[in-house]
């Protein structure tokens, strides 16, 4: 008899044979998908997020919003513990307005302390978008599974980029600066950032093929210090 490795494809196919989605399943799935799509398209915050996500400016292809593969699909989250908040005057903070820096530092401190109450106070549900379409209050989810916070802390310690948001929001400070990266010509610093985030070269190629830009974990704070969005690839 052929060895198990040789027979595995057939064994697996036979084990799953006969599975068919019925029409009711199709209707339910497509109805939910259309609803989700409509919500994505209509959310007022997306206009600002699209700009902030680094996907819609300059010569880049205009996309309506950043897409992040759902539920951790951006690759493994960093497992290291939270490292120190960048100190005032740190090169990565150059040009960062005080309200923005204060919010950034408060987020990092709350993550380090696993202080979910503090995180809740930093989020205005009326002005915050989480994973673009998955709600405006991620804290209950973070309480259940705090793993995404490690990625959030990691990107907030990296250099930032800026985007012009809506007239109401003004300039949005976006982490990490990888949103500006030319994925076809990464610098050593950008490669190091991707490595820290656990994003492989293959994943970078996928991002480039599918979106033409970095669509990994990212977050944005408006110039007045309002935390406006976060997307971690983790729902």
């Amino acid at each position: 008899m052929p060895n198990l490795e040789t027979r595995m494809p057939d064994l697996l196919r036979r084990a799953a044979a006969g599975l068919r989605a019925d029409e009711a399943f199709e209707r339910r799935t497509l109805r939910r998908a259309r609803r989700r799509r409509a919500r994505n398209a209509s959310a007022a915050a997306l206009a600002a997020i699209a700009l902030a996500a680094g996907l819609a400016l300059g010569a880049r292809t205009v996309l309506t919003a950043g897409l992040t593969p759902a539920d951790g699909a951006n690759g493994p989250l960093p497992t290291s513990s939270v490292s120190p908040t960048p100190s005032p005057g740190s090169p990565v903070d150059e040009g960062l307005p005080t309200p923005v820096r204060q919010t950034r530092d408060a987020i990092l401190a709350a993550i380090e302390a696993r202080d979910f109450g503090a995180l809740e106070t930093l989020i205005d549900p009326d002005r915050f978008a989480y994973n673009f379409s998955d709600g405006h209050d991620p804290v209950p989810e973070w309480r259940r599974d705090p793993a995404p916070l490690e990625a959030l802390a990691a990107i907030l310690r990296m250099p930032f980029a800026t985007r012009e948001g809506t007239p109401e929001l003004g300039t949005i400070y976006v982490w990490p600066s990888l949103v500006d990266a030319d994925l076809t010509n990464l610098t050593d610093e950008e490669r190091a950032m991707l490595t820290e985030l656990g994003i492989s070269e293959r994943e970078v190629r996928r991002m480039l093929e599918a979106f033409g830009a970095y669509v990994g974990p990212r977050t944005g704070i408006a110039q007045d210090g309002t935390w406006v969005f976060s997307t971690l690839g983790g729902d």
Partner: protein, 172 residues
């Protein structure tokens, strides 16, 4: 039988509607979900959630060819999250008995033995083995789908197969 990847590539980059993408991938998605969970109802829930998430953002996709990659990865991640969050592996093992709602197969005993053997693997190890052999992905592609280093995937697949051989009573 062509792999899903081959079928996706064959489909090309022509404009594809949401419904077409759903119909093209739903059977493969259900098969993957079923083999990862061993439970048809749970597989349907995971697959539906995955479609909703990926189709819900599908207008952002620059390349339709990337759809299956994102969908597959989302299914795997949702399955892993499910097992991680709810710690139901033990319950899952206990549930391994003939399922009247399960699809009819040519050899139910063989299927049940395989599902029971797969159930002894850790969720991520199970995903590595299923992706490697169901989809005929290279170890590098499995690593890409799981977001893990290739070396880790090689080890997961190798140990997973050793375990399956043991569970199925086969010689190396």
């Amino acid at each position: 039988m062509p792999s899903v990847t081959e079928r996706t590539e064959r489909a090309g980059t022509a404009t594809t509607s949401l419904e077409e993408l759903y119909r093209r991938h739903v059977d493969d998605a259900l098969a993957l979900g079923f083999l990862l969970t061993g439970d048809r109802a749970l597989a349907e829930d995971l697959v539906q959630d995955a479609f909703v998430r990926v189709l819900g953002r599908f207008h952002d996709l620059r390349s339709r060819d990337a759809f299956w990659w994102y969908l597959r990865r989302t299914i795997v991640n949702l399955a892993n999250s499910h097992f991680r969050r709810r710690r139901v592996e033990r319950a899952w093992l206990e549930r391994q008995r003939p399922d009247p709602a399960a699809p009819p197969g040519p050899d139910l005993e063989e299927r049940d033995r395989l599902l029971a053997a797969l159930a002894t693997l850790r969720p991520e190890q199970r995903a590595a083995v299923v992706l490697r052999y169901l989809e005929d992905l290279s170890e590098a592609d499995v690593a890409d789908a799981l977001g893990r280093p290739v070396g880790t995937v090689k080890s997961m697949v190798s140990r997973g197969m050793d375990r399956l051989r043991e569970e199925l009573g086969e010689d190396a």
